[in-house]
Amino acid sequence: MRNRAITLVAGSAPAALSTLLVLVISGLAMLGSETTQRTAAQMLVMGVICVGTYIFVGNSGVLSFGHVVFVAVGAYSTALMTMEPGLKRALLPDLPGWIVDLHLGMAAALPVAGLLALLVSVLCSPLVLRLDGMAAGIASLALLISVNVVIGNWDQVTRGSQGIVGIPADLTVGTALPWLIGAIVLALAYQVSASGFRLRASREDAVAAASLGVRVGRERTIALVISAFVCGIGGGLYAHFLGALTPGDVSLKLTLLALLMLIVGGLRSLSGAVIGTIFISVLAELLRRVEAGGDFGPIALAPHPGIEQVVLALTLLFTLLLRPGGITSGRELGHRLVRRSSRDVETARTEIVAAPEPG
């Protein structure tokens, strides 16, 4: 019993420390200028999206380019729920009446958006059940592109490539923060659950895990729906951050940004998702300021569009080549605190993956 309590306390250390880190950075940002606060809000939104993606990608080891689909579902559905009915009637005259009349606050709309994304993920689950590795990667990319084409042409609901405007752009650090903390807690709860444990065992060695009775497909589906729920909420927050949505906002670019954050932070730990988000957000903001040009004390810079992308790409490249595990290298924050319990996990993992050696 006591052992289990220690494991629980120790196991929640990464969430606690990640949350603390987010709180400190957000607190610092709230002392800053309006621009700084806006950047911090964006960071928190990306945090939710990255943690959501991590729940599936990090635990299963299956690369997905498709999670932005769930973000898109969450973003557009939140927009349709929280916009002024009058504005909706003007922008989207063909929308069914009951959707036009719907007028929820962000806090009420987000869980609904999450559930809608979850429903979509159930439809997508055959992809993760039947496909592995590269085929899964290509399929998820194809899914993202086809959904993007639909969004770009479904004039009655998304207003096509013109996009939706007039979403209440009321997201602040204060209103975004609780959702990120909630996402971190949910991710941790999944990670320490029996399903999360089995899924990570299958990530290390799918064949061995399957031979020990782990139903990989089932565990992947569980991770996928939780992950989609969080991504859907992230999408809703994103809509309220932007105030306007076009298909380009939920395209391959956003997927790559989220994966960049995850990989640089460390794909295989929750702390990695959080640290990667913070690191890349801060770096990107600095680069954006350099890119825009202007006077920085003694140094004057001309605008150089492209610098942000070049430096971020180099960051990703050097991470992949020099530190493939990312900043955290697969470890959780506070892993020294939990050395004891993680050794238990390590032992259990070894038992699971100890397949007969070849020849």
Binding site: L63, P126, L127, R130, L131, G133, M134, A135, G137, I138, A139, L141, A142, L143, I145, S146, V147, V149, V150, N153, L252, L256, L259, I263, H304, P305, G306, I307, E308, Q309, V310, L312, A313, L314, L316, L317, L320, L321, P324
Partner: protein
């Protein structure tokens, strides 16, 4: 109808060049090279830079620059990552893709630029009542020559045989003494040369350049490869022609309401193929690579 067929052949040739460039690397080292699109971008802007020189010279220089770029990518990014998982290689190629795109953005700006490389190829000829663009003839002809050349190289030269062996079982090929560095570098070189020619044809068809111009071709290349069957080299070329035919036919005969969703249908079709026929539409399970 015949007009559509010529169109599909020309488009299919362009797709085949792109798809083969990607499939060659995938079959040998399991790399899905997203940065292949950026090789095409580099080709396009190189052509712009050499605009004014005789077409043959400009094309030769473009091929040289793109091959050099492909070899540089191999040496600096993919060789250190060799042996890593397919996912890591794919992300490495994404990083390179972003890097080149950012670099082009820095140097050339985001605005589309136009270039007319056609010259006399812009004309068309009348054959039996049909108007056939000289460009289409050139694309079909040059691609044909390149495909035959590649087939000859893979069949008749020791390096070609080594590449085919490496595509089937890279480890065993190395155990027999096949130099991994040389085979991979050759594959990148061929891939780059094909990308350069594809860039010339693409720019000749559209006449516009943007820093992200490589994205659509590379995605179409992936689609062609999946259609043909993952990991099978010549199937990728067949997939490319099938894709072009489908695309031209859908464009011509799809009701207007659905035409806007054509690409969505194509990509959904890809998912269905991956789910139910992972070895391609006409394929059967073969070898170990998936």
């Amino acid at each position: 109808m015949a007009q559509n067929l010529i169109n599909a052949l020309s488009l299919g040739s362009l797709y085949a060049l792109i798809a083969l460039g990607i499939a060659l690397l995938f079959s040998i080292m399991g790399l899905i090279n997203f940065a292949h699109g950026e090789l095409i971008t580099i080709g396009g802007y190189t052509l712009l830079a050499f605009h004014g020189l005789p077409l043959a010279v400009a094309v030769a220089l473009t091929v040289a620059v793109v091959v050099a770029a492909a070899l540089t990518m191999e040496r600096l990014a993919f060789r250190p990552a060799r042996g890593a998982s397919g996912e890591t290689l794919l992300m490495t190629s994404f990083a390179l893709s972003l890097l080149v795109q950012g670099g082009v953005l820095l140097k050339e700006g985001a605005d589309p630029q136009s270039v007319n490389v056609l010259g006399s190829l812009g004309a068309s000829v009348d054959v039996g009542g049909m108007t056939i663009g000289k460009l289409d003839v050139a694309i079909i002809g040059v691609t044909g020559v390149l495909l035959i050349g590649l087939a000859w190289f893979l069949r008749a030269t020791p390096l070609g045989v080594q590449m085919r062996a490496a595509a089937e079982d890279f480890t065993m090929a190395r155990a027999l003494g096949v130099r991994a560095d040389r085979v991979v570098a050759t594959a990148f070189g061929v891939s780059g040369a094909f990308a350069a020619v594809a860039a010339v044809f693409l720019v000749a068809r559209t006449g516009t350049l943007t820093p992200s111009m490589g994205l659509t071709p590379v995605l179409l290349g992936f689609v062609a490869i999946v259609l043909g069957g993952l990991g099978r080299l010549w199937a990728a070329a067949i997939g490319a022609y099938v894709l072009a035919l489908l695309s031209v036919m859908l464009q011509a005969y799809l009701p207007t309401g659905l035409a806007a969703y054509r690409d969505a249908l194509v990509y959904l079709g890809i998912i269905v193929i991956l789910l139910f026929r992972p070895h391609g539409i006409a394929g059967r399970p073969q070898g170990v690579r998936v």
